[in-house]
């Protein structure tokens, strides 16, 4: 009789492997750094922003999100590399492959961890943005719902990037290659033009570009929902791609 481990257990199993690798600390530290960005920016140049009209959350996002999103993406890149590096480094992966587990279970478990870890910086950023609104824009209350939906949207935008980066690092035995490729991708994505709206709507779906998008840039509720759905679908597709890749690799291995 064989008992299969349910896929829902995989993230917990994977979590154990991350003990003492500094994975959580990295996300906490990186998140704290990203959360500091709006605070520092406001502290240094408060009058530039408080003089602007409109929603404080949107002002803060316009001013800081480029940097914060980039830090979030870097965290995902480093996290994904680390998740598979621990497997490849001491041949843990060989052992994991020899256990009665589907290799896509391994991938999904790691994706679960990566994305939940991605929530850490987002939560810290939400907190810091809320504090900034309260501290510097006390005359414009009622931003909390806007912040929450905005950050939820940001999380949805992170999904394809996380899945794509994890796919990349699962393909590379040598961590330096996946890390280097990830960094180069981040760099090029940040260089892509975000001005013309028809182009940027498409770019929102491209991994490494999407996280720079902000909810209030989208024309309406419907467009936002469509973008989120497409991102979810894209992440599922990337997981499927991992599955296909694994079966191809097994054929040639």
């Amino acid at each position: 009789m064989t008992a299969y481990i349910s896929p829902f257990c995989m993230p917990f199993l994977e979590m154990r492997k991350m003990k003492r690798t500094g994975f959580c600390q990295a996300f906490l530290g990186g998140g704290a750094l990203a959360a500091l960005v709006p605070v520092v920016n406001m502290a240094l140049r408060a009058e530039t922003f408080t003089s602007q009209p409109g929603s404080p959350f949107q002002i803060l996002m316009e001013a800081n999100w480029q940097l914060m999103a980039q830090l979030n993406i870097f965290l995902l890149v480093c996290g994904a590399c680390l998740l598979y590096h621990t497997e490849y480094a001491d041949n843990g992966l060989q052992k994991a492959r020899s256990l009665p587990l589907g290799s896509s279970g391994l991938f999904l478990g790691k994706l679960g961890i990566l994305l939940s870890a991605g929530l850490i910086p987002l939560c810290l950023e939400t907190a810091s943005l809320t504090l900034c609104c309260m501290r510097w824009f006390p005359d414009r209350p009622g931003e909390s719902l806007r912040i929450l939906t905005g950050m939820a949207f940001a999380f949805a935008m992170l999904l394809p990037t996380g899945a794509a980066m994890l796919l990349l690092s699962s393909m590379c035995r040598n961590m330096w290659i996946s890390l280097g490729a990830g960094v180069i991708l981040v760099f090029f994505a940040s260089m892509l033009p975000a001005s013309s709206s028809s182009v940027s709507d498409v770019l929102a779906l491209v991994p490494f570009c999407g996280p720079y998008r902000m909810l209030h840039e989208l024309p309406g509720r419907e467009a936002a929902l469509w973008t989120v759905c497409l991102c979810l679908g894209e992440s599922v597709l990337l997981c499927a791609a991992e599955r296909v890749y694994q079966s191809i690799r097994r054929c040639f291995a």
């Binding site: 690798t21 500094g22 990295a26 990186g30 750094l33 960005v37 520092v40 920016n41 240094l44 140049r45 940097l67 980039q70 830090l71 870097f74 965290l75 480093c78 590399c81 680390l82 590096h85 961590m175 330096w176 890390l179 280097g180 960094v183 180069i184 760099f187 260089m191």
Partner: protein, 266 residues
């Protein structure tokens, strides 16, 4: 068989360290970013005709191309090089062997840092070569002379690369003190991200990571005065830069090999 023993000079150790990075593909790490930056620039060189500022297309081409280098690619290559050099020592346990040889650890550390500086200089040359290649390509593609005179290019590029040395010392200490490669790279990369933000504040000189970008922006300011100040404010940048470099190198040299010495493992 034994010759008279004098303490090794820093120069001969520098030679030893250069020998260690043979075949380590570090040259590719230097070359790829330089080429990768300039090739797309040549392809899209026509955007330089549409500039909203009063700047000649060839100068705009030069500045825009080096902008990506100064902001991101030069620091990123440096980070990867420093971490790679430190990791080669850690993973091969070569450092343990070196510590049991009659040579002071701080000298090895300093020699390695000099190699990093040397690699930066190599990339400077590569980037200038890549610039000329791409400018020639762009000139052919769009029938406009994008090529700038060599003395101008060399001076501007050298200033950018010289300004990166304090940041290199910071990356060096990160590479020495943080032994998990992913974190030393991650921390280094994270330190690049806020450099543009810092450059726009009044205390930009407190953040050595934005010095190369600052150098480029002053060059930009010479051509488009309304965009950025053209005058390089040497004080307090130079003292802070030198101070940072010295502090980082002192700490790094002092801590070099400390983990190898104190590990209780076999």
């Amino acid at each position: 068989m034994k010759t008279e023993f004098r303490p090794l000079t820093l120069f001969s150790l520098f030679g030893v360290e250069l020998l260690k990075i043979r075949r380590s593909k570090i040259f590719l790490i230097l070359l790829i970013p330089a080429v990768m930056m300039w090739l797309p620039s040549a392809m899209n060189a026509n955007v330089n005709f549409l500039g909203s500022y009063d700047i000649s297309p060839e100068h705009n081409y030069f500045i825009q191309g080096y902008m990506g280098m100064a902001w991101f690619m030069i620091p990123a290559t440096l980070i990867v090089c420093t971490v790679l050099m430190n990791q080669t020592e850690i993973s091969s346990r070569g450092l343990v062997k070196c510590l049991s040889l009659p040579v002071a650890a701080w000298k090895i550390c300093l020699a390695k840092f000099l190699v990093t500086v040397f690699l930066t200089a190599v990339q400077l040359v590569l980037s200038i070569m890549a610039y000329y290649g791409s400018a020639a390509l762009a000139s052919g593609l769009y029938e406009y002379d994008f090529v700038l005179p060599l003395p101008y290019v060399c001076r501007a590029a050298s200033l950018i690369y010289a300004a990166v040395i304090p940041a290199a010392a910071v990356y060096w200490i990160i590479g020495v003190l943080i032994r998990t490669p992913i974190f030393s790279v991650g921390l280094g990369l994270a330190s690049i991200v806020p450099s543009v933000l810092m450059l726009n504040t009044k205390v930009w000189y407190c953040y050595p990571m934005d010095y190369p970008f600052y150098m480029l922006m002053t060059e930009y300011g010479k051509l488009v005065p309304e965009l950025f100040s053209a005058k390089i404010e040497l004080v307090p940048m130079v003292p802070i830069g030198i101070g940072t470099t010295l502090l980082c190198l002192t700490v790094a040299c002092g801590r070099y090999g400390a983990a190898e010495r104190n590990s209780g493992s076999l």
